[in-house]
Symmetry: C2
Subunit: 339 residues, 2 copies
DNA sequence: TTGAAAGCGCTAACAT
DNA sequence: ATGTTAGCGCTTTCAA
C-alpha cells in the first residue's frame, strides 16, 4: 500500500503538494499537478482514511440507530438514508438497538470514540437525560421520534393529526365502536397518536373505553389473537385501527376463517402502507408515511449540524401522514341499508 | 475530549502504561492499574478510534454490499449480519450498489482506503476479473452468490438442487406444463437454479419450452402482468414457479380477479418464505432459505480471513433450501377426480 | 513493572 | 507556487 510519501518521492515533489492536489487546493501549477496525478496513477495510490480521520477529526461516517432493520418501515428508511448519505460522501453504520437501553448507549458511544460524525436515532430507549449527555460529542438527530424536552433537531410525523384522521375516517363511515391497537412501545409520538384518536371520538360524543385498547400488538400472529379476543367482547367493535399492516393482515386472515364478511362485519385500518395491503382481500385502508421526505430531511439536517458543529438546537421538522382509502373501510352494506 | 496523554498525566504515569491498561496487557501492577482506571473514569476518557485504526492498521468495520436493502431477503440478511458483527466487536457499513457496476467498484474501494477490514458481497455486478484485483487489499466473502473461478470463500445455496426440488414437487402433483420465472439478474446461481429445474423436467420426459420462461419478473405488478400473458398462451401452464413471493402474490391476486380457482386452475410456488405467503389465499408454497445460517457463516468466515490476513482461499460453504408445502400447490381436485 | 521515543499517513501553519 | 515541520492519538519496540 503506497502512501502520500511514495507519491511525493516518485513525483519529485513534497507531500504538501501531493496533499494539495488530493484536496483540490489552489496554488498548484498545472505542470506539478499532472506530475502528481501520474505518480498516483502509477502507484495506484489511495489515501488512507484512518489517517485522514485522525488528522481532520472527522470520519465521514454517520450512525443510524434502529430497533430492528428487517421491519419494512425501517428498511425503507435506511434505504433512503443510505442513498442520501452516499450522495453527500458519507458512509452509514447500521446499529440495531433491539430495544435494549444498553445497546443504545453502546452505539451512542461511537460519537465519543469519534468513529462517527453524527447519529440519527429512529427510536429511543434510554431516558432523555442520558442521551442528552452524548450531545457534548456530536450531533444527534431524531427521525421518526419526538422528545419535547430535547434540544436537537427532530424529524417526525404529527401523530396527533394522524390518530385524529384515522378516527375521523371511521366515524364518517358510521362506526361508533372502534378499537385501537398499539405495539407496546411507549413514546411521545405513540401517546400523541392515541390522544388524537380519542379527541376525534370525543368530538363525536363518543367516550373511548379502555377495554377497546389492545396493547403490545405488532405481528400477524398478534392480529390473529386480537381477533379472537374481540369476538369475545360483549359488544364487539365494528371497526379497528391496528397500528400496523401486519396486525391488520392477521385480523383479516382470522376473520375470514371465522366466516366474517369484510368490511361489512368489521372495518380495518392498517399503518405503513406495506405492499401486502394491496394484495390481501379486502385491500387494506392504511396510513401512508412520507418515508423518503423524512429520511432526506434527516440527512440534510445532520449534515448541516455536523458542518456547523452545532450540536444543540431546538428544531422541529414536522411531516403529515395520509390515508390510503381502500376496501377494508368501504361503506358498510348494513349501515347503508338501515339509514 | 481527553486523550491518553491527559489520563497519563492525571494518573502520574506514562502513556504506555495507560495503553497497557486499555488493552489488558500483562505487566501492570494492580496499584497503577487502579490509578489509571480512576483517571479514565474521572476524565470520561474514551479512546479515539481513528488513532487506533491508523496505528493498528485495522478499522473494526466490515462493509456489506447489497443491491437494495428494502428487499425483505436482504434486510433479513443484514439483520443477522449486524448482530453477528456486533457480537464480534465489528461495525457494519451498508453499501447499496443499486445494481450499478460503478457503485460496486466505489464501495470496494473502501478496502483500498482501509476504511473497512473486509467486504461481504451479496450480489455481483462487475466481472470477476475486476473484483479480483481488490483482493490485494483485504478479504472479500460472497454470501448468496457463487463465482466458480473466484478464489475466495463463498456462502451459498445449492441452486441446482433448489430448482430440481421445486420442479420435482410440481411434477409429483401431476403437472406437466410448468412455467418458470426469473428476475433478469444473471448469475451463476440463477443459471444453476434453472438447470436443476429443467433437469427434473427432463427426467420426467418433459422438454422445457422457452416460451414458458418469463424473464425480468420480480415485483407484485410483474406478477399481475405475467398472469395476463399466461392467459393468452395457446396452452396455459397448470403450474408456475415464480422465483419470488411478491410475484406469486401478484399472480394470485390477478388470477382470483379473473375468477380462477387456486390451486385447481393454477399451482404456484414462491421463493423466500416472506410473511405474506401465510396470509394470502391460498397460502403460498415457497422456498425457505437458511438466512440466519448463511449470514452467521459469512460473518465467521470473514472474521477468520481478516485475522489470518488470508485474502485468497477457495472455500465453498454450501447450504440447502427447503420447500414449505402450502395450499397453493395442493393436489388438484380435477386431477384427483379423473384419476 | 514502567517509560521514552518512534511512527502509523495525513494536513495545515508557516516560511520561503 | 512549493516545501519544512509539527502533530492528530494511539501502540509498540526497546531500554531501564
Amino acid at each position: 500500500m503506497s502512501t502520500i510519501e511514495d507519491v511525493a518521492r516518485l513525483a519529485g515533489l513534497s507531500r504538501t503538494t501531493v496533499s494539495r492536489v488530493l484536496n483540490d487546493h489552489p496554488y498548484v501549477s498545472d505542470e506539478k499537478k499532472k506530475l502528481v496525478q501520474q505518480a498516483m496513477e502509477h502507484l495506484g495510490y489511495v489515501p488512507n482514511s484512518a489517517a485522514r480521520s485522525l488528522r481532520n477529526q472527522k470520519s465521514q461516517i454517520i450512525a443510524v440507530l434502529i430497533p430492528k432493520i428487517s421491519t419494512p418501515f425501517f428498511s425503507q428508511l435506511i434505504e433512503i438514508l443510505e442513498m442520501a448519505a452516499s450522495a453527500k460522501g458519507y458512509q452509514l453504520i447500521i446499529c440495531q438497538t433491539q430495544f435494549s437501553k444498553q445497546k443504545e448507549r453502546s452505539y451512542l458511544n461511537l460519537l465519543k470514540t469519534k468513529q462517527v460524525d453524527g447519529v440519527i436515532m429512529t427510536s429511543i430507549e434510554n431516558d432523555w437525560s442520558i442521551i442528552d449527555s452524548y450531545l457534548n460529542y456530536g450531533p444527534i438527530v431524531l427521525c421518526n421520534e419526538v422528545v419535547e424536552q430535547a434540544e436537537i433537531p427532530m424529524v417526525f410525523i404529527n401523530q396527533t393529526k394522524s390518530g385524529y384522521m384515522i378516527a375521523k375516517h371511521l366515524l364518517e363511515r358510521g362506526h361508533k365502536h372502534i378499537a385501537y391497537c398499539s405495539n407496546g412501545y411507549i413514546s411521545e409520538g405513540m401517546t400523541a397518536r392515541k390522544e388524537g384518536f380519542i379527541k376525534a371520538l370525543a368530538e363525536a360524543g363518543i367516550h373511548f373505553q379502555s377495554k377497546l385498547h389492545f396493547e403490545r400488538v405488532s405481528t400477524v400472529n398478534d392480529g390473529k389473537h386480537i381477533f379472537r379476543e374481540m369476538e369475545n367482547l360483549n359488544i364487539c367493535p365494528t371497526a379497528i385501527f391496528t397500528g400496523s399492516d401486519a396486525v391488520a393482515a392477521g385480523i383479516i386472515s382470522e376473520a375470514k376463517k371465522a366466516g366474517w364478511s369484510l368490511p361489512d362485519d368489521l372495518a380495518i385500518v392498517g399503518y405503513d402502507n406495506m405492499e401486502l395491503t394491496e394484495i390481501i382481500e379486502p385491500m387494506v385502508t392504511t396510513v401512508i408515511l412520507p418515508v423518503e421526505e423524512m429520511a432526506s430531511k434527516a440527512m440534510d439536517v445532520i449534515y448541516e449540524k455536523i458542518h456547523k458543529k452545532q450540536f444543540r438546537s431546538f428544531e422541529k421538522h414536522e411531516f403529515a401522514s395520509k390515508l390510503a382509502l381502500r376496501d377494508s373501510t368501504m361503506f358498510r352494506r348494513n349501515l347503508v341499508a338501515t339509514s
